[in-house]
Every structure is written in structure tokens, then in C-alpha cells.
């Protein structure tokens, strides 16, 4: 089988940026992406938006169109609609493509798997009508679909961004319920001066908040004790703020309290991960060039710690230069010279990131459920009470708890419950998440029909060109 020099998984800002560099250097690079068109989540449909007024989404979004065009013209082999479900540390990749299974081999692998939203297991979060703020973004970007009269609840820049976008588009918003605790503003204040180095980013954030305030929609601050009300459908959000109970009626509730790396694939692959206590999530352990514990596997973008789209672009370029060095295409000195500017930019982003991470740090009350009946595992319907019982029966390890209760065994493969279970066990064992560990994950990383797996073929590097 003719192998590719490099396979990149994911065509977001990191993957596209890396592919452009690698293709320009004349390597045989293939990019596999589940979507029909490149962009990832952040630049989703940026090049072919269905929106009548795409400028309303802001310049950060429209800037994606240029990157997508450059990527599509780069000469990299792009397999759109390739749904990767197995990454082997031997360089073997299995994916579903047009309802069949395909296998390809690569010398170097670059994972650009991006982020997913941090689940928010509050009472009622499984009711139809409760979605994430990211879901609102996706529906808006790819299908120009919005929800009128929704309530937005939680904390963090992405939450304010979608609210502002809705307002610009004239979509009615029932309320913004901000859960950022008062204490976080105090904690973050000392980090502010250094964050000012990224004054542009800071100004963008402030102008979003100003825009929302100016719109006159009901805004609640320091909200606590969130609960989605409704019997079979979301009917509204109940919460406490300014010392009293509130209730906002809405058919749609969008929740958000930050994003975390999308790490099922990197976990299943057996890469080393560590707990990021500032971002309260696991991430792949990498060196300055994005190289993981398996030298021929690199990670760029949010998968190795949340850094945002600009950071992801720089990290993608850095990883690409290191891969060129590993492939013997450039010298170490060339690599070091070529990555200098991007590495500087990446470290310049850090103070701002530290400030944001501190200000919008997910609160324990929203990260871990408190009512025994609240579901942790949505797929297998395991509640906090069920897990506690399993723990008391001796299942102290996330995998033992999974085996005993089926928590994390459903189709989402622990994507929704993994961090919550690790957090709960850490609390119950009075140990760090690092000591508690995480689920052992297995391929396939998506549901796969027997028919699909049964039809198994290989993709040669030449044939794909």
C-alpha cells in the first residue's frame, strides 16, 4: 500500500493551516474531514454561507472564507465526508466514506480534532428544547436557522457572541442568564494588565457585552441554582439571582460554560493526556511543536488545550514545519527559523487566555450535578444517584464504574459524561482527576453498521491524488 507522508484529521483552522504548509512543501498530504466542506466548527460554512447577511456574524467568521479558499487551492488531497472512526498509533486510519470502510496509511499524523462544548448537567438538561450555545451557532452558520424567544444561560465568550449575533439578525432573545460568579471578576482582575497585550481580543469581548446591554434584553448576572422547567419539553429556566428566584419562559434553552478538547480519538489512540487545572479538562500532552507521546503523531489546535481559532492556525503551521523536519524535508535549523514568529504569537496569546480561563472558569455547581436524579450519562440514563451507588459498591475507577453501571457505554462513548464522571470520582475519592484517570476508549468512535464495516477497502496515496 502506498502511504501518505502525512494525514491530517479535521479541516478546521489548525488542519487547513497545516495542510497548506505541507502541500506547499510538496509532501503527499491528505486531509480527512467529516463535513462536506472545510472550515471546522468555527468557520463552518464560512465560504458558502446560507445567511442573507453573513457580515452580521462578525469579521472573525468571515475571515475563515479566505483560509478555506487557500486550503482548497493548496493541492492537499481533501477527503470531505470522510468520517474517521479509528486512528492507530501505527499510522493506520480507518474511516467511513460513502457508506463503506476505508483504510489508509501515513508516516506522520496530525490530529486537529477541535473542541466540543462542556456538558452542563443541570436538572432538566435532557428535555427537548435544551441545547448548547454551540448548537445555536451551528444551526445559524450552516443552515441559517434560529430559535426565537430562547433563553441563553451560562458563561463565556461564545455565549455572548451568539447572543450578539442573534440580536444583530433581529432574532428575539428572552434573556441572557449569566452565571459568571462575582468572585471570578475579582480573581481575574490581577491578570488583566498582562491580558491587555492582546487589547484587540479584549476590546472585542467588551464590545459584545456592550452590544447585549444596549439591546435592552433582560440580563441577569451572578445567576445560580439553574433548573430547566417543563414536563416533556423545555418550558423555561428557573434560577436565583440578586437574592431572589426568577423564572424565564422559553421553548428553547441554550446552555454554555466553555469548551473542552474533543479527545475521544486521542484517548482511544493511547496518547498521553494530562489534566489542565486552569481549563478544568483533559488535554493531549504535547511539546512546543505539537508532538505527542507518540513521536509520529502530532496535535494542533484546541485538542492540545483550548487556544481559539487564531492560536489554532499558528499551532497548525508550527506542527506542519516540525512534520516537514521529521519527514527529512527541511533541516532542524530551518524548522526553528520558520516557526519562530508563530511560537512568539502563541506565547503572546497566553496572558489573554489565562485571563479568560480564570474569569470564565466553569463552576463546580454547573460542572457536576447536585441532585441525585440528574442524569450524568444521557445515553444510558445513569443519574448521579446511580453512580454514587456504583461507587459505594466498590467501583472507584472510571472504567469499573462504567462496567458496573453502563455509564459511558452508549453511542456517545462518554463524550458527555466522561469529564463529569472523572470530576465526581475525584470528589468522592478526594483525589486529583489525574489520579482518577479517564475511560479507556475504543474504536469505532462513531456508530458503524455491520454492512459498512463489512465493506472494507484501502486508499492508496497515488489513487487519491
Amino acid at each position: 500500500m502506498k502511504a501518505f507522508d502525512c494525514a491530517i484529521i479535521g479541516a478546521g483552522p489548525a488542519g487547513m493551516s497545516a495542510a497548506i504548509e505541507l502541500a506547499q512543501a510538496g509532501t503527499n498530504v491528505v486531509v480527512l474531514d467529516r463535513a462536506d466542506r472545510a472550515g471546522g466548527q468555527i468557520y463552518r460554512s464560512a465560504a458558502d454561507s446560507a445567511l442573507p447577511d453573513v457580515a452580521s456574524l462578525g469579521p472573525d467568521y468571515t475571515a475563515g472564507a479566505d483560509l478555506i479558499t487557500r486550503f482548497e487551492q493548496s493541492g492537499a488531497t481533501y477527503l470531505a465526508g470522510a468520517d474517521v472512526w479509528h486512528l492507530g498509533d501505527d499510522g493506520r486510519i480507518l474511516f467511513s466514506y460513502q457508506s463503506e470502510t476505508r483504510e489508509l496509511h501515513c508516516r506522520e499524523m496530525l490530529l486537529c480534532l477541535g473542541a466540543m462544548e462542556r456538558p452542563m448537567p443541570i436538572p432538566g438538561w435532557t428535555l427537548p428544547g435544551v441545547m448548547t450555545a454551540g448548537a445555536a451557532q451551528v444551526m445559524l452558520k450552516s443552515d441559517a436557522v434560529v430559535a426565537d424567544g430562547a433563553v441563553f444561560a451560562g458563561s463565556g465568550p461564545l455565549l455572548y457572541l451568539i447572543v450578539a449575533q442573534y440580536l444583530r439578525l433581529g432574532v428575539q432573545v428572552a434573556a441572557l442568564v449569566d452565571t459568571t460568579p462575582r468572585q471570578h471578576y475579582l480573581d481575574a482582575a490581577p491578570l488583566m494588565p498582562r491580558a491587555l497585550q492582546q487589547v484587540g481580543n479584549l476590546r472585542k469581548g467588551l464590545s459584545l457585552l456592550r452590544e447585549i446591554r444596549a439591546s435592552g434584553i433582560p440580563t441577569f448576572r451572578y445567576a445560580k441554582n439553574l433548573k430547566v422547567i417543563g414536563d416533556n419539553r423545555a418550558a423555561g429556566l428557573r434560577f436565583a439571582a440578586s437574592g431572589r428566584q426568577h423564572e424565564v419562559s422559553a421553548n428553547t434553552v441554550f446552555l454554555h460554560h466553555g469548551v473542552q478538547p474533543n479527545l475521544n480519538m486521542s484517548r482511544a489512540m493511547g496518547l498521553a493526556h494530562h489534566w489542565n487545572s486552569a481549563q478544568m479538562c483533559w488535554q493531549v500532552s504535547v511539546d512546543a511543536f505539537g508532538q505527542s507521546s507518540v513521536p509520529h503523531v502530532s496535535v494542533a489546535g484546541d485538542g492540545a488545550g483550548i487556544i481559539g481559532a487564531d492560536g489554532a492556525r499558528a499551532a497548525g503551521r508550527v506542527a506542519a514545519q516540525n512534520i516537514l523536519f521529521r519527514l527529512g524535508r527541511i533541516s532542524q535549523a530551518d524548522r526553528d527559523q520558520r516557526v519562530r514568529a508563530d511560537l512568539n504569537d502563541l506565547s503572546a496569546l497566553k496572558p489573554f487566555r489565562r485571563f479568560i480561563d480564570c474569569l470564565y472558569r466553569p463552576t463546580e455547581a454547573l460542572r457536576l450535578p447536585r441532585d441525585a436524579e440528574t442524569l450524568v450519562c444521557r445515553c444510558e440514563e445513569q443519574s448521579l444517584g446511580d453512580l454514587r451507588k456504583g461507587f459505594e459498591q466498590g467501583a472507584r475507577d472510571p472504567n469499573a464504574l462504567k462496567s458496573l453501571t453502563r455509564c459511558g457505554m452508549g453511542p456517545c462513548q462518554g463524550r458527555q459524561c466522561g469529564h463529569v464522571v472523572a470530576g465526581l470520582l475525584a470528589q468522592w475519592r478526594a483525589e486529583s482527576p489525574e489520579e482518577v484517570g479517564y475511560y479507556r476508549l475504543r474504536s469505532p468512535q462513531r456508530l458503524l453498521t455491520l454492512d459498512e464495516l463489512g465493506r472494507y477497502d484501502t486508499v492508496q496515496a497515488e489513487a487519491a491524488e
Binding site: 435532557t126 436557522v145 458527555q416
Partner: protein, 103 residues
Amino acid sequence: MFRSLQDDDHDLVTLSVNGRPVNARKGQSVWSAMAVAGQVVTRKAALSGEERSAYCAMGVCFECMVEIDGLPNQQACLRRVANGMSVATQDITEDSEEIDEGL
């Protein structure tokens, strides 16, 4: 209530959702077509039978699994609409019995 911001009606396809005809735009996700049509329930939870709907809309939560053209476990947020497509709420629970009697 979900609605589309696109007011033109070119490139429409017709699919059926739980037997009802639904118009959608070519390239649109099955989930957003269902949402705009007011059909937000995608599946029944496997144990309790409670109704569920899309949560993340980006392929990670697997809540939006529906049956498409008789094939279960299809993520409505990842699948694109097609003319004549038949979409149904997925109601496979622990107690479901196969209705096809086999031979």
C-alpha cells in the same frame, strides 16, 4: 420556535418526517429541517422512553439519532436532507420487539 432566515425558496427538497411532508433546503441538515418543521423529538431514551432532542447539533452527543429510510441510529445533525428521504423518530428502547417476523 425555530425558523429559517432564508426567505427565498429555491433549491427546495421534500422529505417526510414521521409521515408528514416537510420542505427543506438542499444541503440543510436533517435536524434543522425537523426543527423548522416543529418536529423536535428525535428519539426515545432507551430505558425510560422519555422524549429526547438534539443537544449539541455537531455530532458529539448522539441525542439526535433518528431512523432515515429504515436505517436506525442516524445522527440527524450530520445527515443532509435529500428529496424523498423518509425520517422517523427513533423509538428503540430496551423493550422493543422486532416487528418483522423473519421467515
